[in-house]
């Protein structure tokens, strides 16, 4: 299994800072905006973005939550390993008329985002939903879904995997590209 690092070190940090600046351009003081990290791996990026934004804006009132879309997925029961085990959802605010920024680490086929858009409806009718991703795997979409904020764009083939490692869980920040075995 071959791995190559796509992004790490200071560049990783700069990319997150740039995403925050882009968010500020569109959302100002975030009075009507909320951040929602998608379970399981989007929540780390959402936490980072929230911390960074609060530091830049000198506020501690940013509203954020975590969304699990397991029950809304279209591949429930299509996995041979059995049904997916749900992660907790924690959204203790009303989404009605808010600008929602959905946050995930990697955008690939778009199916996770599709089910998240369904899942979010259970919490009200947002004024607007935007999508922020750290990695956009271009040209591999199954659905007409595009991100509004992109960390980096990656051209990859289907047999490859893109993983984001976080300081909190993997003891380093980096984006890696994994090549599957030849006979896989």
């Amino acid at each position: 299994m071959q791995q190559s690092i796509l992004l790490s070190g200071p560049k990783f940090q700069i990319t997150i800072q740039r995403l925050c600046q882009q968010l500020i351009e569109n959302h100002g003081d975030f009075k009507d905006s909320v951040l929602i990290g998608i379970q399981p791996r989007g929540i780390y990026l959402a936490k980072r973005i929230k911390e960074e934004l609060q530091q830049i804006l000198h506020i501690d009132t940013l509203i954020s939550g975590e969304l699990d879309n397991t029950f809304y997925r279209d591949d429930f029961r299509r996995k041979e390993s059995g049904p997916l085990v749900p992660n907790p959802t924690s959204i203790d605010f009303v989404i009605e008329n808010k600008k929602v920024i959905l946050i995930d680490d990697v955008l690939w086929t778009g199916r996770t985002i599709r089910s998240s858009l369904d899942a979010i409806q259970a919490f009200g009718r947002p004024e607007k939903v935007e999508l922020l991703v750290l990695v956009d795997r271009r040209f591999s979409r199954h659905l007409p879904i595009q991100p509004d904020y992109i960390g980096i764009q990656v051209d990859s083939i289907n047999s490859q995997r893109v993983m984001v490692h976080w300081q909190e869980t993997d003891s380093r920040d980096e984006i890696i590209l994994i090549n599957a075995e030849e006979n896989d």
Partner: protein, 313 residues
């Protein structure tokens, strides 16, 4: 936290006996998420939208049937209801024929309550559908035991080492058997308490403590699960009168107050107020009877969701 997939070891839910400890933990953990779902403004998820479920009840039920139906609807399954009293069963149709006719209408899962022990096991061997046992005679009532375990876990965090007393008509109770099996698998200590005539002869083989003095049982336990006297299953007299039973084994406020600790009171319903439990106890802060009912929907959603995950597409 990774995206993980886990599955039950069984295709049907026939009894707690067939479940592993991991199965039970998986169901309880999944139920936690569903409890969150049913407390949202929109209480529904689309997971089972392509599944049809028949609720086949050969015996009366209020809570269990409503609870299953709500669980099914909140998972977006299509639901049909069947009550034996208003069906062709009274015209002499056999169980397998009845169920096969339902299945011919493209039904995927059967939730069944039946007066005969083992009816679910029998059916699972003869028809092509997933069977969920909603009570078979005096044998098992697995979803009740799971929701009781879930409710105790909610109160105490963990079941290991907890002391649970099951009090009342143990002999005729499927809730008692399923509860004993489930609690023991999760590491709790179980005691049964009731008049000698209502304790099954071979109860020792289950490894539970037996007590005939209500006061001693209450002093021992942290959780008391009060069972109803099942007069409809009693072919002979097991005690002189309901009044005597209630004097010896009924739980009242004075008894509770005389204990120097707070215990949790459970009841699977339906309650016979004034017999096994008085109103002031049933409605007190000690009782989690209505929490059990709420948890029932979440636990049944988890069971249906996980069993549906076992179906090939």
């Amino acid at each position: 936290m990774a995206e993980t997939a886990q599955q039950l070891s069984t295709q049907h839910l026939l009894g707690i006996k067939d479940l592993s400890v991991d199965d039970i933990q998986l169901i309880l953990d999944t139920a936690n998420t569903f409890k969150d779902v049913i407390n949202r403004p929109i209480k529904k998820v689309p997971s089972l939208r392509d599944i049809t479920i028949a609720n086949v009840f050969f015996e009366n039920s209020t809570r269990t049937r409503l609870s299953f139906e709500l669980a099914e609807k909140r998972l977006s399954a299509d639901v049909i209801n069947f009550a034996a009293s208003s069906s062709s069963v009274s015209k002499g149709e056999t169980l397998i024929d009845t169920v096969n006719n339902i299945l011919a209408m493209k039904v995927d899962m059967i939730v069944m309550r039946h007066p005969y022990p083992g009816a679910g096991v029998f059916l699972s061997k003869h028809v092509k559908a997933q069977i969920i046992n909603a009570g078979d005679g005096a044998h098992e009532h697995p979803t009740q035991a799971l929701l009781d375990a879930f409710s105790i876990r909610e109160q105490y965090g963990d079941l290991a080492g907890r002391k649970v007393a099951i009090i009342g008509d143990i002999l005729h109770s499927r809730v008692a058997l399923s509860n004993i099996l489930c609690l023991q698998k999760l590491g709790a200590e179980v005691m049964v308490c009731g008049p000698t005539t209502l304790i099954p002869k071979y109860i020792d083989s289950l490894g539970v403590k037996v007590e005939h003095d209500l006061m001693k049982a209450l002093n021992w336990c942290e959780v008391a699960n009060m069972l109803r006297i099942q007069l409809e299953r009693q072919d002979i007299s097991y005690f002189p009168s309901l009044r005597e039973y209630s004097l010896l084994y009924g739980l009242n406020k004075a008894l509770l107050d005389s204990l120097n600790k707070k215990i949790t009171i459970m009841h699977p319903g339906p309650i016979n107020r004034g017999v096994e439990i008085t109103s002031d106890v049933a409605d007190s802060e000690h009782a989690i009877i209505l929490d059990q009912v709420e948890n029932g929907v979440a636990v049944r959603m988890a069971v249906l969701y996980l069993l549906a995950g076992k179906r090939a597409f």
